[in-house]
């Protein structure tokens, strides 16, 4: 009878799991089956034993049949349900079953900075020819918490990601590899310090150059939250996991233009889950993950020990591969590893290969180089680029020529000239001091005998740029087409500050779109900035041949994309160009709102990376002016998400080579880009009336269940939280930018 109770309990779990996967209990009457089991459990002692076991066998057969049916046609929406099931394995199960021992760091259970992020110092071992070898690793991941509320479903708060970063640095200090386990539906969207977006950006920036091998495993990869601990030399993914730019429900709400509070139709959610290409196979095809770890057909659960054995083997092999790439002598071992891979799906008992995970300085350099190379290649081939052999040849020759020229001019000759100048200065200073000592008594005697009347000193003009009114230039060159209407508008702050109605030609002409009473900035088109911020005729666009496309064949997206291309006359939402600000040359990457809401996809990412390269080669400062951005483009799925680490790595490389990267936010800047290549900037500024954040008010309300004040994302609050370094007035933009370029940055810039 005791056995039958256990069996019934197991069967009930299997049915609950099927209900979780299908999302309802009406499918194939599984709800009735569950009811039958409950009844059997209650009347365990009233039924004859033989009848009971017969009934159990019948139910088990039925469940096995249903499981096979589900496994046969497993859609992306059902995979999402598998991942969200409380029966799915969590990080704690991995720590207990994959690693030999572990010590949790940064708190335990609910006594923790953020229980959604779990950090542990663990030991993992392998047997080679009957000898046991142990490796120490740092394990960082999300813990969904087996249902505990305090884990917050694996949604890391900003301070949780900060904790992860702290222990990444500990691993770097101790020189041990890091294993990341991603089990998050997304980051918790709050702006409290350190801020969801800013902290993810900081994590990406540090992970770009972390001097230890890193391997990540994705079970539930929810966009930015996943990237916060996702940069690695090799990315593994569970065969029943999902990795997506947005939850299917979120995508459905956007696609279906569902109002807040209304229910999203189930069919639309399923449609979006298919369109977003979120499964492991899809991601492997797209190149956003490197390898799939096979799970049972309906996904691994908490007691799936053969899966944990496989995971242990794969994680060891993956770390070996990352390490081995950096070694000088690796041919035989790499071959052995490869052979292992080809041997089949069986997990071997012992490893017959030992690879030390400690790295020399040279190997660390190679490790970082490989990481950079790997991420720079992500998403390549998923944007349109009109290139043929000739144009590609010309482009490469141009790059080579400019690199050689600038390396010679600023890399070789200038340091030499600086050294010579320094020596001359030193010698002349020494000489002047020596001469003064000799001539001083003579001069004193001369002055005493022939006293000279005192003359007023000459006025020295400062070398700074002559201050010119922006209005004069504006009248000369460009007036916003918004000014062509003969009507008035009301300032949104009129009830608060008593602003009078503004005549549109005045507002968008003389006032530069700024309320003269309260200073509210009305939005202006990006062309206004192109014309007024930079010197006349100094803007030269490059890489305008790179165009956005529909890499996932997202249904209906082609039409919308074509419409935007026709309307804006541009191929992507990013414009990259060379420009000058009062004679000072710089490279600019501009995201503008008119094209798909300023969202970032593969084309935009590639353009940004190339702008970083140009700025790095020419030793010019790099300005990211964000007219508006709505985040990562959902229609490009994870190809868009991987632009976050890709662009951040490019920024890190540029900064480390002595560049100056300034970000200026205008209008609305949200989500992925702010949580990566924008938020990682050391110098961020906001134009007045701009809004900066991770998620908009609706997403915050739906995720956290709490409303946020209307000014939650305002530039002023972003400044208070330390996310930006200053607020600039649009009318002073040019002057402020010039000042920033002159005062910030290191000596590697061409003009310093």
């Amino acid at each position: 009878m005791a056995d039958s109770g256990k069996l019934l309990s197991q069967l009930a779990d299997r049915i609950s799991y099927l209900i979780d996967i299908k999302g309802n209990s009406e499918w194939s009457n599984v709800g009735d089956l569950l009811g039958r089991i409950q009844w059997l459990r209650q009347s365990l002692f009233e039924i004859k034993e033989a009848d009971l076991f017969e009934e159990i066998d019948r139910i088990e057969d039925r469940i096995s049949f249903l499981e096979d049916r589900v496994a046969e046609k497993l859609g992306p929406a059902e995979i999402v349900n598998i991942v969200r099931s409380p029966q799915r394995f969590t990080l704690m199960d991995i720590l207990e079953n994959v690693y030999d021992s572990y010590t949790e760091l940064g708190g335990e259970g609910d006594c923790n900075i953020d229980p959604a992020i779990m950090v542990a110092r663990a030991t993992i071992s392998r047997r080679v020819k009957n000898k046991l070898y142990s490796h120490h690793v740092m394990v960082i991941g999300h813990e969904k918490g087996r249902g505990e509320e305090y884990r917050n479903g694996g949604c890391a708060r900003p301070w949780g990601n900060d904790k992860a970063l702290r222990y990444m640095r500990v691993a770097e200090t101790e020189g041990i590899p890091i294993h990341f386990y991603i089990f998050t539906p997304g980051s918790y969207p709050i702006e409290d310090y350190p801020g969801a977006a800013q902290q993810i950006a900081r994590n990406l920036y540090v992970m770009a150059k972390l001097k230890v091998p890193m391997v990540s495993f994705i079970s539930e990869g929810g966009s930015g939250g996943a990237e916060a601990i996702g940069v690695s030399g090799l990315r593994l993914m569970g065969s029943r996991g999902y990795y997506s730019v947005i939850s299917p429900e979120g995508a459905a709400a956007i696609e279906g233009k569902i109002r807040e509070g209304e229910k999203v139709p189930r069919e639309l959610v399923e449609h979006c889950a298919v369109q977003l290409k979120i499964t492991a196979e899809d991601n492997l095809k797209l190149g956003t993950v490197d390898r799939i770890i096979e799970e049972p057909p309906l996904g691994a659960r908490r007691d799936d020990f053969p899966f944990f054995r496989r995971l242990r083997y794969e994680i060891l092999r993956a770390t070996d591969e990352v390490v081995l790439k950096t070694k000088n002598f690796r041919a035989f071992r790499a071959y052995a590893l490869k052979r292992r891979k080809e041997e089949g799906k069986e997990v071997p008992e012992d490893f017959d290969l030992f690879i030390s995970w400690s790295l020399t300085d040279l190997e660390i350099e190679r490790l970082i180089e490989f990481r950079l190379k790997k991420y720079m290649e992500l998403g390549n081939g998923y944007f349109l680029e009109n290139k043929n052999v000739l144009t590609e040849g010309i482009r490469k020759t141009k790059i080579f020529a400019s690199k050689t020229y600038y390396d010679l001019r600023y890399g070789l000759l200038r340091p030499h000239r600086r050294n010579v100048q320094k020596v001359i200065e030193e010698v002349s200073s020494e000489g002047s001091v020596f001469l003064r000592k000799v001539t001083e008594p003579v001069m004193a005697a001369y002055d005493f005998i022939f006293p000279q009347p005192e003359r007023p000193g000459k006025v020295v003009r400062s070398e700074g740029p002559e201050h010119r009114s922006i209005f004069a230039e504006e009248w000369e060159s460009y007036v916003s087409p918004l000014a062509n209407e003969d009507r008035t508008v009301t300032c949104p702050n009129a009830s608060k500050y008593g602003c009078l109605d503004l005549w549109v030609p005045d507002l968008y002409g003389e006032f530069c779109g700024v309320c003269p009473n309260c200073g509210h900035h009305f939005p202006l088109e990006y062309q206004w900035y192109l014309e007024n911020l930079f010197d006349k005729n100094s803007v030269h666009e490059f890489n305008d041949h790179i165009a956005s496309c529909n890499p996932l064949d997202f249904q209906g997206y082609d039409v919308r994309l074509k419409k935007d291309i026709k309307r804006t006359g541009r191929n992507s939402s990013m414009i990259t160009f060379d420009a000058e600000v009062w004679g000072l040359r710089l490279v600019v990457a501009m995201l503008f709102s008119n094209f798909r809401g300023g969202t970032v996809g593969t084309a935009e990412g590639e353009k940004f990376v190339r702008a970083c390269d140009v700025a790095g080669t020419t030793r010019r400062p790099l300005l990211a002016y964000i007219h508006s951005t709505g985040g990562i483009r959902i229609h490009e799925g994870t190809l868009g998400v991987v632009q976050m680490p890709k662009c951040t790595l490019a920024v890190r490389e540029y900064n480390d080579n002595g560049g100056l990267y300034i970000v200026v936010y205008d209008n609305n800047s949200y989500a992925g880009p702010v949580a990566s290549f924008l938020g990682c900037s050391l110098y961020q500024f906001g134009i007045r009336s701009s809004r900066i954040g991770f998620a908009g008010p609706r997403v915050i309300r739906e995720t956290t269940g709490q409303d946020v004040p209307p000014d939650y994302h305002s530039a002023k609050n972003a400044l208070k939280r330390g996310h930006i370094q200053g607020i600039w007035d649009r009318r002073e933009f040019k002057k402020n930018l010039h000042d920033a370029l002159m005062t910030l940055g290191g000596p590697n810039l061409y003009y310093k």
Partner: protein
């Protein structure tokens, strides 16, 4: 302070409304969006971020302004003849008859009955430690203050200034601010009730709280 509380109560009982006139802020052509007797809602949300019901639209120089209700209530005395007409600034369009709830009535009665100490300037205010300690020990109705008593500390530009009470002696009946909050100039800080009226006021308020319907 010679106010008859019974008269006040009778007045609120016979007409428990406050009429808020809705006037045009400036010249323009007006299009009404409400009807006589229609119930309208004021701004809502924790920060009053959701605007109230759309009342009317006024257009001037092709600038169409949507004017929303600032109070909840019923539209009354609507001037239908101005629909689609050009009006001057300050033209009365209609009134919003706002039904006062019991807390609003209590507030109104208290403002007339109590001696109000207003904020001399925009600053952070704190209760004097002695008053604060006494309030913790005994119910606030029992804390008595008299002329010359130090009741508040005004904290402005890192300088704390003690504010002495100079009104009629009485019991500290209501504190209108949270200790440490920034209070605007002329906003009420404290409400002091003369001792002879204290019991009577308490009784009236008790009556309103128990007897009033809403």
């Amino acid at each position: 302070m010679d106010i008859n509380l019974n008269d006040l109560l009778r007045r609120y009982r016979s007409y428990p409304f406050e009429d808020y006139p809705v006037k045009t802020p400036h010249t323009g052509v007006v299009f009404l969006k409400v009807k006589e007797g229609q119930t309208v809602k004021g701004p809502s949300g924790e920060w009053l971020q959701r605007p109230g019901t759309l009342l009317y639209v006024i257009e001037r120089e092709r600038n169409v302004k949507r004017m929303t209700a600032l109070w909840s209530g019923q539209v009354s005395e609507i001037c239908l003849d101005i629909e689609g007409q050009f009006v001057e600034a300050g033209e009365l369009l209609f009134s919003i008859r706002h039904q006062l709830d019991k807390e609003e009535i209590i507030d109104r009665i208290l403002t007339q009955v109590l001696y109000i100490l207003p904020a001399p300037q925009r600053a952070r205010y704190l209760l004097a430690p002695e008053i604060s300690a006494r309030m913790e020990k005994q119910p606030k109705e029992g804390v008595s203050v008299g002329p010359g008593d130090e009741v508040l500390i005004m904290s402005l530009m890192k300088r704390d200034t003690v504010i002495s009470y100079e009104g009629v002696p009485g019991a500290l009946y209501k504190v209108y601010f949270k200790s440490g909050d920034t209070v605007e100039q002329e906003s009420p800080l404290l409400g002091i009730c003369p001792p002879d009226k204290l019991r009577y006021v308490q009784k009236v308020i008790q009556r309103i709280r128990t007897e009033w319907e809403k």
